[in-house]
């Protein structure tokens, strides 16, 4: 599973929706060199809504193996970049991220909240997963793909 973005470069003014379309057209199962690079403005310019999240992801990026003194591996650089990319796009769409955190398998948790509903995106080294926790009804977990993020998952969260 190769993906995404090692750098962000300034770009001319693009409507936010066009930027997101660029993002969603990306197939994360493609090798990195076949990926059509995403142009984006800088984190500072675009990350305002989720600036706290960027700070936390930066702390997560500093973790080394056994960061919790219980043998947990550090999150991979690819997943660090992917978490930043999701935070950027969510900022562009005005969607606040509630929290990010590392996990005991080297995964990164990206947590969204809306009233009593929550949505978790989990970036493991060998898989990606979403978890929907509704206010009433049955929770659901499934395979996360980037095309689900805005049209399905965030739409569910805010419905």
């Amino acid at each position: 599973m190769s993906y995404l973005i090692n750098s962000y470069s300034p770009t001319a003014e693009l409507p936010k929706t066009d930027q997101f379309k660029t993002f969603t057209s990306f197939n994360i199962d493609q090798p990195l060199d076949s990926f059509v690079s995403i142009t984006f403005r800088t984190e500072d310019e675009f990350g305002g809504l989720n600036s706290r999240i960027f700070e936390t992801v930066s702390k997560i990026a500093e973790l080394t193996n056994n960061w919790d003194e219980e043998g947990s591996p550090a999150p991979s650089p690819d997943n660090i970049q992917f978490a930043k990319a999701i935070a950027l796009f969510m900022s562009a769409f005005g969607q606040e991220i509630y929290n990010v955190a590392p996990g005991p398998h080297g995964e990164i948790l990206i947590d969204f909240r809306s009233q009593s509903k929550s949505l978790e995106i989990l970036l493991y080294n060998d898989k990606m997963r979403y978890v929907k926790l509704p206010d009433v009804g049955t929770p659901e977990q499934g395979k996360f793909t980037i095309d689900l993020l805005y049209t399905d998952l965030i739409a569910w969260l805010n419905s």
Binding site: I60, E70, N99, A101, P102, P104, L109, D111, E120, P139
Partner: protein, 119 residues
């Protein structure tokens, strides 16, 4: 007694790593789902302490390195997990949450939502 269910009237403590520079808890201080995520080395048993058999100071071991969360046994039973007393030679309050699956990411989220930070 070892192997007995912990009373549903009791509460459990779950310790999580959290040095001052790396407190990866939620903005309101509550636990993230990762605090309750099972690892391979847990052998299916998520380690906890029974609140009624210990103190916060004993359960957290080192305030400078850990955070402490509590969760009612009733909340654990409600999502079809079990709470089993499992005393250790150096810790009579030790217990575990049973029934978790390492591939399940729903129950860790439910446990986190039912917990609250105490230290």
């Amino acid at each position: 007694m070892k192997g007995q269910n912990v009373s549903l009237l009791y509460t459990l403590y779950r310790r999580a790593y959290g040095s001052p520079a790396r407190k990866f808890c939620n903005p309101d201080g509550s636990a993230t789902s990762r605090v309750f995520k099972l690892r391979e080395i847990d052998n299916g048993a998520l380690s906890v302490d029974v609140k009624e058999l210990t103190t916060q100071e004993k359960a957290i071991v080192d305030k400078a390195r850990f955070m402490l969360f509590e969760i009612p046994v009733s909340s654990i039973l409600k999502i079809n997990l079990s709470a089993i007393h499992d005393p250790l030679p150096n810790n009579d309050a030790h217990a575990f949450i049973g029934g978790l699956d390492i591939d399940d990411d729903i129950k860790p989220s439910q446990l986190a939502k039912a917990s609250k930070k105490v230290l």
